[in-house]
Symmetry: C2
Subunit: 329 residues, 2 copies
């Protein structure tokens, strides 16, 4: 089989995904590696995962057919500014048999492109952290939040987890029996939902259980909030609504009040039919009634689409988007 192939990579903190795609959108191969972020894993370890993912995607594809590639990763700017990191990535690319150039973009741009072909719009991402970015001509423009758990990430998984603990502690301080969400948080932290005869002892134990771990691990409690919100628990529903308001507020820092461009919702807490996505759709719909709200899709396919756009044989990149981003049959 001949014909031009493009390759896309979505490099995340816990997994690296690659897709080799023909220009008619046919998925020729996919590959997967472990977390490949050079900032958190080191350049060489990240490059190894990149190579694993690339080799998977190229199992049934002649690398000489690949004409363009795009790598999406968090902190793309740091990689580009780091000669050692860039060299490790070049080497992985070469070791996979690839001879074409590749572009590096922020993961937020790839998430955006996985939800829409529109050159201008907004992407709003909530996972462990939270960030909003304006996209202009399919480039990241201004960014809001993404300030990390200590100073920002308002409405993120970290934020939801921390707030769930704070509500629990307020209940214990007040002498109230923890609600169902609070009992689940207690069980996660202490292995039991039982409150000590002196509730302050339970408060102290819970605080110590949290502070023994890295703070960002509070994000691990976010799924408890999501599940409780699905079950209709009032405190969880309130926390989800507050998180949505924070996320929309962050987006409003970089999105004009009269914008009618698409908004793509990405990250583990906003992709698909999650309670937080529903709450953000509602809050964003109130603020920007003209906006189309899209869900992020396959990041590796979106990266491949971004690579295809610049090929001379591609006349109408927007027409390719539904072919690349259609869910595999």
């Amino acid at each position: 089989m001949s014909g031009t192939v493009v390759i896309g990579l979505d490099v995340g903190g816990t997994s690296t995904r690659a897709a080799a795609v023909a220009l008619d959108g046919t998925r020729l191969g996919t590959g997967r590696g472990g977390g490949g972020n050079p900032t958190s894993h080191g350049a060489d370890a990240a490059a190894r995962e990149l190579l694993t993912a690339l080799r998977g995607a190229l199992t049934d594809v002649d690398p000489a057919r690949v004409r363009a590639g795009t790598i999406g990763l968090a902190g793309a700017g740091r990689l580009l500014a780091d000669p050692a990191g860039r060299e490790a990535f070049d080497r992985a690319w070469h070791d996979a048999g690839l001879r074409c150039p590749y572009a590096v973009h922020g993961d937020a741009l790839v998430a955006y492109a996985s939800g829409t072909a529109s050159p201008d719009g907004t992407v709003l991402i909530a996972g462990t952290g939270a960030i909003a970015a304006a996209v202009h001509d399919l480039r990241l423009d201004r960014v809001a939040d993404g300030h990390g758990w200590l100073l920002g990430d308002a409405g993120s998984g970290f934020w939801l987890g921390r707030e769930a603990v704070r509500r629990l502690l307020a209940d214990l301080d007040s002498g109230r029996t923890p609600d169902a969400l609070g009992r689940q948080v207690l069980t996660d932290l202490l292995g039991t939902a039982a409150v000590a005869a002196r509730p302050r002892d339970t408060v102290d134990s819970a605080v110590q259980a949290v502070t023994r771990r890295p703070p960002v691990e509070l994000a691990r409690l976010a799924p408890l909030v999501v599940t409780a919100a699905v079950a209709g628990e009032p405190v969880a529903t309130t926390l989800i609504a507050e998180a949505a308001d924070h996320l929309v507020e962050s987006a409003s820092r970089i999105r004009p009040a009269d914008a009618d461009t698409p908004i793509v919702l990405g990250g583990g807490l906003l992709t698909g039919a999650t309670p937080l996505a529903a709450a953000v759709r509602e809050a964003a719909g109130r603020r920007w009634p003209e906006a189309l709200l899209c869900s992020a899709g396959d990041g590796a396919a979106a990266a491949a689409w971004l690579a295809a756009r610049d090929l001379p044989e591609v006349d109408d990149p927007e027409a390719l988007h539904p072919l690349f981003l259609a869910p595999p049959p």
Copy 2:
């Protein structure tokens, strides 16, 4: 000179203060040592500072005249549960020539007793952290907040500093020029108030400047907020009002809505005529219109008063309170 003497110690994270007081309230001596908290400094180092402060207070007093003593410190419960810590304190007490027993109380109780002689009431403290406690029969009863910077300390110096940075980052995200408070925060963090051509670069630098230090050091920015509030800057005034609401909410967890007992305001941000104390007085006055709001005074003198209360020759401990806590002439 003869007659009974009591001794009080106020052990804090940055200084240890001792006062030797006659039963008519005459201050016979005062002493000062460095930070003496056994939890943060280690038991032996803490005991050394205790001894320094004690020797200062006893310079002109025969230790045999001292009949009772009280030590107030944060984490009093931990000291009492720690045989090595207790032994180090016993040794310092003995090395100072003291042969009477001493009691150990939480610093919150000593702060409370420095503001009122009433056996029942509430103490609300905001310094680097924040805590509220109910006092019953001059013993600490239920406690609210004091959960540390990651999960609580709402309305504290840490909280004010973090919120000041968050407002600055929101302004930079939005493309707004930082206000006067924001410029002072920027100068503290980066050595200049100038915003880069790409404001995101300033955002990244500011976030890095904060995350390079221990998080609790954000409390160092609180005085900037206080000064800006005194100058009438609107964002600072809003932050002070929000901090006051948080503090009053914490107190409401452990103080009944119809309580008419005194509320003592303590800690660096609430002692004296500070903007936060004024805001808390206003917010607490709305919630508990019958409450007398008092400012915390001399902790070492209050500890000495607590020690005097239990002596057989003291018939009316409340009558002693104004004598012990009157400002020195």
